[in-house]
């Protein structure tokens, strides 16, 4: 009896998946997906370097929005801070320091456009085929997040920090070392002497 009940309890949610069809979320996703793809295409096609950097802002912001839709708030905030705050500024500095043409320039692409398009389409075809074959119309269930944010906790952010400073402590420390190395490397490369 007991085991039968258990089996039913385990199977039932699989048989009748809880529909998380969520109209507002999907609308938001659709809008930002279109914007992001357009912006991404502009990044790689625009004839103005500064514009490319600004279109990149749109893409990176859209990625952050995606993280929020996927309920990864901490990563989303990090995305906004690091990418929109720091990386874009870094890019703009790079543009200024290399005296790139600030206006429209016809000389930003090489003569491999056709190869590039061919490779891109082929990659996209393979990726889409693989994704549709393997995941089809499966729903996003957020199964892994259930139970993570228990009562009296600070939600998933706490779980992320527990993971970083628990199980992934040593990778984390290695990462700090890597950042140090990158810092020194960047200074050594860029300084004049």
């Amino acid at each position: 009896m007991n085991s039968a009940a258990l089996i039913i309890a385990e199977v039932v949610p699989l048989v009748t998946p809880e529909t998380t069809f969520d109209v507002p979320a999907n609308v938001v996703f659709a809008v930002q997906a279109v914007v992001m793809i357009f912006a991404a295409i502009r990044v790689v096609t625009t004839k103005n370097i500064v514009h490319a950097a600004l279109w990149l802002v749109v893409v990176l912001g859209g990625v952050g929005l995606n993280y929020i839709l996927l309920q990864a708030e901490f990563v989303a905030v990090t995305q906004f801070l690091v990418y929109l705050g720091a990386v874009i500024v870094l890019f703009l500095f790079g543009v200024m320091l290399t005296r790139a043409p600030l206006g429209v320039s016809d000389d930003l692409d090489n003569n491999q456009k056709k190869i590039g398009i061919g490779v891109g389409v082929a990659l996209l075809a393979v990726l889409s085929y693989a994704l549709i074959e393997s995941f089809g119309r499966s729903e996003l269930t957020f199964a892994a997040y259930e139970g993570v944010a228990g009562p009296n906790t600070n939600g998933r952010t706490q779980a992320v920090s527990d993971a970083i400073f628990g199980q992934y402590l040593i990778p984390f420390e290695m990462l700090s070392l890597l950042l140090l190395a990158a810092l020194i490397g960047a200074i050594v490369l860029a300084r004049r002497d």
């Binding site: 090489n110 190869i115 990659l123 075809a125």
Partner: protein, 739 residues
């Protein structure tokens, strides 16, 4: 017990001293030296008290022998850091659980030697250092005879060096900084010595390396000094990789445990496969080679003499360089099982040690710099210790470490005193001589330490060297050794001969003949001579702590005290045997030493063998050999010119050549083959088969060749395009066709 669980206070004191000197040293009346001396003095007193407690603790050991007692002896191990040891202790408590085991291993216990041996009771305490996932890394102290021995040696030498330095580096531009680093070094060394797990050992190991680097380069304004510091650091990095890999291998071999006790127990009881132990021990030997200056990685040690002399005495003679020896001794079951030391006649460890002992001693002959003579002597003596560990004479190795620390520190400080008198020159051939009358205290202490190093009966060096020689088990009539290491015995005897001779040579150059330097030398002050006298007396009498068991005319309980208190007995130490005292071998070793002294005496003092003087100038063969020695077997040349030069120049050029000729050639070849095959098709198929297809085949083949040629444009983005295209195609194949 209080001393054993709170032994962390000793390194903590020295670390505190480091911080105090760093922050307040400059404001103190003596510029920070007094802080260092007070703290190291306190550390020394605490170490002595710990030692006294250890002796008492060993004496009133209630346990008997046998496996049950050996398990129970581990009851003072903190279970949170050594799970295996704690398990063994739990099993040992309930004796009835181990009856089967007792019967099985009783013979092994009896093999351990005639006299009754009581299981050592190590005290391990630890705290949680950090956690990573389910893995908890602890940090703590492991107290047993071995660590207590090093505690006393390190703090004693450090104290004497501190006192010596107040005079020697007086008025130095970085006086305070110097004492701060002495304190930091002492703290790190004590931290290393007390390590409870191998990870902690690495930390201590690297810390002493950093201090050594900083102190070698103490006078870094001069290029050779900073070069020497860099060389020491980089050479040590080579070995550190070995240490790192070895520790990682052993970590996984021991079932994800860094604990030294766990590792030793598992290695000892066959819980780790022989191959893993072999790999682990070979990696660790690399570490020993660099830190303890063993052959082929020894080249940094003589250069390290660029540092202040007291530093050489403390770090590069008495304490830091024995870290490698200590590490092997600490993880001895790993080496004992991994290298199959027992019942063998050769292994990597003993071979490296014996080669180092002999070749180091030979190099000491051609040095003009008195400190370099002593440096090569240290290399050679470390070789003795490593050989001793390699042949299974554990106690002999540690005993030699103990005695060597005294007389070698005395020799180095004596050299410092000499140079202090001779306007800071170490060149004994050109700037010294005839100092016997002027510096009697330095002379006599130096003479005693030299005799001890040469192994003259009854000074301490004789006892420890004799134990190592007996431990090789090769001399006829020696009983109880672990194997029969004939080659090692011969090489060590030769090394002993050389040692005696080159030490006599330094005595001749420094103290006899006419004074060759300038100015008027003078005897050093009491702050220099007092440490010398203390070290010389210890170097003379330290031998009595481990008189052979064969001396049964002595009162009961006065022989082999060192072995009794220092050598562990129990689950975490292999069942090694001890070579008995062999009077014939003792006579031979003394005779060899005296022969070395005698020949050198006749050569230098009496000007005998007149034909040999200046031989190198006249005889090409002799000049050839002398050249090899003067150039230190060309090792530095090998490293800097051949290896570095090769990597810098030809290798880079070869890579360039390879990409320019081979890869391009390959591409061209593909193209040419395609064209050629096109031609072949043209000639054979075309003429005979379809005429229309001919032109197509030929031109497409040559087109393929031309296209392949095109791929080598040097344009990164085209490579990227090719790369991603290949990825798309391969992924397509995997996903669509296979998947």
């Amino acid at each position: 017990m209080w001393f054993f669980t709170h032994v962390w206070i000793i390194p903590a004191l020295m670390a505190l001293s480091f911080l105090l000197i760093l922050f307040f040293g400059k404001k103190m009346p003596k510029k920070g030296a007094e802080i260092g001396i007070v703290f190291v003095g306190a550390a020394f007193v605490l170490a002595l008290l710990t030692g006294g407690n250890w002796i008492a603790w060993s004496n009133d050991n209630p346990e008997g022998h046998g496996p049950a007692a050996e398990g129970a002896a581990l009851a003072n191990v903190d279970p949170s850091c050594s799970s295996v040891a704690a398990e063994a202790a739990a099993v040992g408590e309930g004796v009835e659980h181990v009856e089967g085991k007792t019967a099985a291993s009783e013979p092994a216990a009896e093999e351990k030697g005639g006299h009754e041996e009581v299981a050592t009771r190590p005290v391990v305490s630890c705290v949680n250092w950090f956690e990573n996932g389910d893995q908890t890394i602890s940090i703590g102290t492991l107290v047993d005879g071995q660590s207590v021995l090093l505690l006393i040696v390190v703090t004693l030498i450090s104290l004497l060096v501190h006192v010596f330095s107040t005079d020697y580096v007086h008025g130095d531009r970085r006086y305070t900084h110097y004492f701060a680093f002495l304190s930091l070094f002492t703290a790190s060394m004590l931290f290393f010595v007390l390590s409870e797990n191998t990870l902690q050992m690495i930390v201590g190991w690297e810390l002493v390396g950093v201090c050594s680097f900083a102190l070698i380069g103490h006078w870094w304004e001069e290029k050779p000094n900073s070069d020497a510091a860099l060389k020491a650091f980089l050479t040590n990095r080579v070995g550190d990789i070995g240490l790192l890999v070895g520790v990682i291998v052993l970590y996984f071999a021991a079932g994800k445990s860094f604990s030294i006790l766990d590792l030793n127990i598992l290695a000892n009881e066959g819980g780790i496969s022989h191959n893993l132990l072999l790999i682990g021990s070979l990696c660790l030997i690399t570490a020993v080679m660099s830190k303890s200056g063993q052959f082929i990685l020894h080249t940094w040690l003589p250069d390290a003499m660029a540092g202040p002399t007291p530093v050489s005495a403390l770090i590069h003679a008495a304490t830091m360089v024995v870290a490698g020896v200590y590490m092997v001794a600490r993880l001895y079951p790993v080496f004992f099982e991994g290298l199959s030391i027992s019942g063998s006649s050769v292994n990597a460890l003993s071979m490296i040690g014996a080669i180092t002992a002999l070749f180091g001693a030979m190099l000491a002959f051609v040095q003009k710099d008195i400190k370099k003579v002593l440096a090569y002597s240290t290399v050679s003596q470390l070789g003795f210790m490593v050989t001793a560990l390699g042949v299974g004479a554990w106690t002999a190795a540690l005993f030699h470490l103990f005695t060597h620390a005294f007389f070698k520190a005395c020799l180095f400080l004596g050299a410092g005193s000499l140079s202090h008198a001779c306007h800071h020159s170490f060149n004994m051939v050109d700037d010294m001589g005839g100092l016997r009358k002027i510096m009697p205290k330095t002379f006599w202490t130096y003479l005693v330490a030299t005799a001890a190093l040469a192994g003259v009966f009854p000074l301490s060096g004789f006892w420890s060297k004799d134990e190592i020689l007996a431990g090789t088990g090769s001399f006829p009539g020696t009983e109880g050794a672990n194997g029969e290491y004939h080659v090692m015995l011969i090489m060590l005897l030769l090394a002993a001969f050389c040692t005696a001779a080159y030490m006599t040579r330094t005595i001749w150059y420094a103290f006899y003949g006419e004074y060759r330097g300038h100015g008027t030398p003078h005897e050093s002050g009491p702050r220099i001579t007092t440490p010398l006298i203390i070290l010389a007396s210890l170097g003379a009498i330290a031998g009595i702590v481990n008189l052979p068991a064969a001396f049964d005319f002595l009162p009961e309980g006065t022989q082999t005290r060192f072995e009794h208190y220092v050598e562990p007995v129990g689950l975490y130490f292999p069942a090694i045997t001890h070579a008995g005292f062999n009077p014939v071998l003792a006579l031979v070793s003394v005779a060899v030493g005296l022969a070395g002294i005698g020949l050198a005496y006749l050569y230098f003092f009496k000007n005998a063998f007149a034909g040999l003087h200046g031989l190198a100038e006249r005889n090409k063969v002799a000049a050839f050999f002398k050249n090899i020695l003067v150039n230190k077997y060309y090792f530095d040349w090998l490293y800097t010119t051949v290896i570095v030069g090769f990597v810098k120049g030809p290798l880079a050029r070869a890579a360039n050549w390879f990409s320019a000729n081979v890869i391009d050639g390959l591409v061209n070849l593909v193209g040419k083959t395609a064209v050629g095959s096109g031609n072949w098709v043209y000639k054979n198929v075309d003429q005979k088969v379809v005429d229309g297809a001919v032109n197509g085949a030929g031109s497409s083949a040559s087109g393929v060749g031309a296209m392949l040629r095109l791929t080598q444009t040097g344009r990164i983005q085209q490579y990227a395009a090719l790369f991603f295209a290949a990825v798309a195609i391969l992924a397509g194949v995997f996903v669509v066709v296979i998947g």
